[in-house]
């Protein structure tokens, strides 16, 4: 027997729900990727990775304290600490004269957080997103192949205007 409701079910099922837009998928990707990175850290793998920047920064600072004051390219009036003055010191290096050349620069996304909706003006709401980024820069002295790496953690806040209906 052909139930009229079966026909109706078939007719309704024929319609495919509208697929979510790519923007929504991108938002989920940002959240899920961070979630997965955290989950992996919880398993112990990237715990190394998580602390690596701090360890590397400490190593760079130590190396700077021990080595930089006596090096030709870093003849400063007073020995700097890398944490305070890495860039000015490196800017003194002259490529081609045994100085330091930048060889690598990269930003790593460590975390992204949705802080919800805020009202920065009377009419327009904004979605507030915070990104934690680790900026890395590496220089190499071609004369003796010594390298210096600087790691700078940053936090960027982005306000995305929203449409109100």
């Amino acid at each position: 027997m052909n139930d009229p409701l079966d026909e109706l079910e078939a007719e309704l099922k024929r319609w495919q729900p509208l697929a979510p837009g790519p923007a929504l998928e991108a938002r989920i990707a940002a959240k899920v990727d961070v979630t997965e990175a955290r989950a992996a850290r919880a398993l112990g793998l990237p715990r190394r990775f998580w602390w690596a920047p701090l360890g590397m920064a400490a190593a760079v600072a130590l190396m700077a304290l021990v080595w930089l004051p006596g090096h030709q390219a870093f003849k400063l009036a007073s020995p700097p600490t890398v944490a305070k003055q890495p860039t000015p010191a490196l800017n003194r290096a002259r490529p081609g004269a045994g100085g330091y050349r930048p060889v690598r620069r990269a930003d790593y996304l460590l975390d992204a957080r949705d802080d919800g909706i805020i009202y920065a003006s009377a009419t327009t709401p904004f979605r507030k997103i915070k990104y934690q980024v680790l900026s890395t820069s590496q220089w190499r002295d071609e004369a003796d192949n010594a390298t210096v790496q600087v790691l700078v953690p940053r936090e960027n806040t982005v306000l995305i205007p929203m449409n109100v209906y």
Binding site: L12, P17, P20, E25, I28, V32, Y165
Partner: protein, 168 residues
């Protein structure tokens, strides 16, 4: 569950469940942007939970959408919520994919769906487009399977009246 969904590929799960979740969320919160926020929150929360408990089934996604939509409605200013609802009911952004030739028919189907009581419409959506059983619908909506089945039946009967000429 597809094979890709078990080896940590969230995109396979998203491709399968994204459209269903969005349609269901739009029964809970009529404004499309709010529905997307709800779906995002539900999906991310589910995925996070599944890292710890891989046995969680995707049916939980619908439960999360329902709960988060309720929280969302509570948190949103009541005025804005009502305005959005009124606008969505009046204009009605599309629920379904269509071809140009079928646009009129789609609009009729969507208008008929919107005319149903929300409690029936959500059951209908979960059954037809979410591919859930009445048991699963009962768990997702916190109602008995029998209640889910009878709401589904009521919904179909009402829709039959609205869509009958074209179906028959």
């Amino acid at each position: 569950m597809r094979p890709g969904q078990q080896d940590g590929d969230w995109r396979a799960l998203w491709a399968d469940y994204g459209p269903k979740l969005l349609l269901f969320a739009r029964q809970q919160t009529p404004e499309l942007g709010a529905a997307e926020d709800v779906v995002q929150e539900a999906f991310v929360r589910y995925w996070k939970s599944r890292q710890k408990s891989p046995e969680l089934t995707p049916t939980l996604l619908f439960t999360l959408v329902k709960r988060i939509a309720i929280d969302y409605a509570r948190k949103s200013a009541a005025r804005r919520w009502r305005e959005a609802e009124a606008q969505a009911q009046n204009e009605g952004e599309a629920y379904f994919e269509d071809s140009f030739a079928e646009r009129d028919r789609r609009e009729l189907v969507e208008a008929s769906l919107r005319a149903l009581p929300a409690s029936q419409r959500e059951v209908l959506v979960l059954k037809l487009w979410g591919d859930l059983t009445f048991d699963e619908i009962g768990k997702a909506l916190d109602i008995s399977p029998n209640t889910a089945a009878s709401r589904y039946r009521y919904a179909l009967n009402q829709l039959r009246g609205l869509l009958a000429p074209a179906v028959s």
